[in-house]
């Protein structure tokens, strides 16, 4: 049985190579705020005046600066997560697929529970932060759970051999 929507095994390693640096950078970025905005990712746009509210601006066009550090980090992190999570194992047999599905279910439950707690206990700006994190947490939970299960099994079967 062929699974259609998984990447080949070799992408798993690429996934880890992308994921680890981007995860570390994203974590640092989200903890420190925008201290680490990379200057070369700042672009300046000419923006047309949107409404008369801004008419104290004497220019016809106002200049608008946007830094793309968070966008780049988000894209890198997501690509790393997807490749790590959804690349085939070396031997992707039916039971591994079963474990994959179970882990995915577990990850979605976990994430929903966290969001539930956040809805009840967290308000305002902080809630938006939690929502931002929850764009990535389902995949993070899945990767942790799935790899933990595989690791646990590997360890067990080595013990049987000994």
């Amino acid at each position: 049985m062929e699974t259609q929507f998984l990447f080949p095994y070799r992408y798993k390693r690429i996934g880890w190579f992308v994921l680890i640096p981007f995860f570390a950078l994203s974590l640092a970025y989200s903890i420190t705020g925008q201290v680490y905005d990379l200057p070369f990712l700042t672009f300046t746009f000419q923006e047309e005046q949107k409404s008369s509210l801004y008419q104290d601006d004497s220019f016809l066009f106002s200049l608008h600066q946007e830094n793309f550090t968070n966008e780049v980090l988000g894209i890198g992190l997501l690509i790393g997560l997807i490749l790590t999570a959804f690349s085939k194992e070396k031997i992707e047999d039916e039971r591994i697929k079963h474990l994959r599905l179970e882990s995915l279910l577990w990850a979605v439950y976990c994430n929903s529970l966290l969001i539930l707690v956040a809805i009840i206990f967290i308000y305002g700006g902080l809630f938006m932060t939690v929502m931002t994190y929850s764009m990535f947490t389902p995949l993070i939970f899945f990767i942790l759970r799935f790899n933990w299960l595989l690791w646990k099994e590997k360890k067990q079967s080595i013990q049987i051999l000994i």
């Binding site: 049985m1 047999d93 039916e94 039971r95 067990q156």
Partner: protein
Amino acid sequence: MMKNTIRIERAIKNITQAELADLVKVSRQTINAIESNKYIPSAVLALKIAKVFEKKVEDIFSLEEKDWQ
């Protein structure tokens, strides 16, 4: 849960879990999980395993009372 005699059949044929895994193209952990009744193989995998041992599926895998509940 459905039980099986893979461990005995392996002993008769004198092959290891790893060798059987290679023959039916699954991981060794999967064979181990099936032997210890932690995982029920698909029909295809059960047929493949039976083929390796040159037996009928029913001779290797059998239902238990619990499977009917």
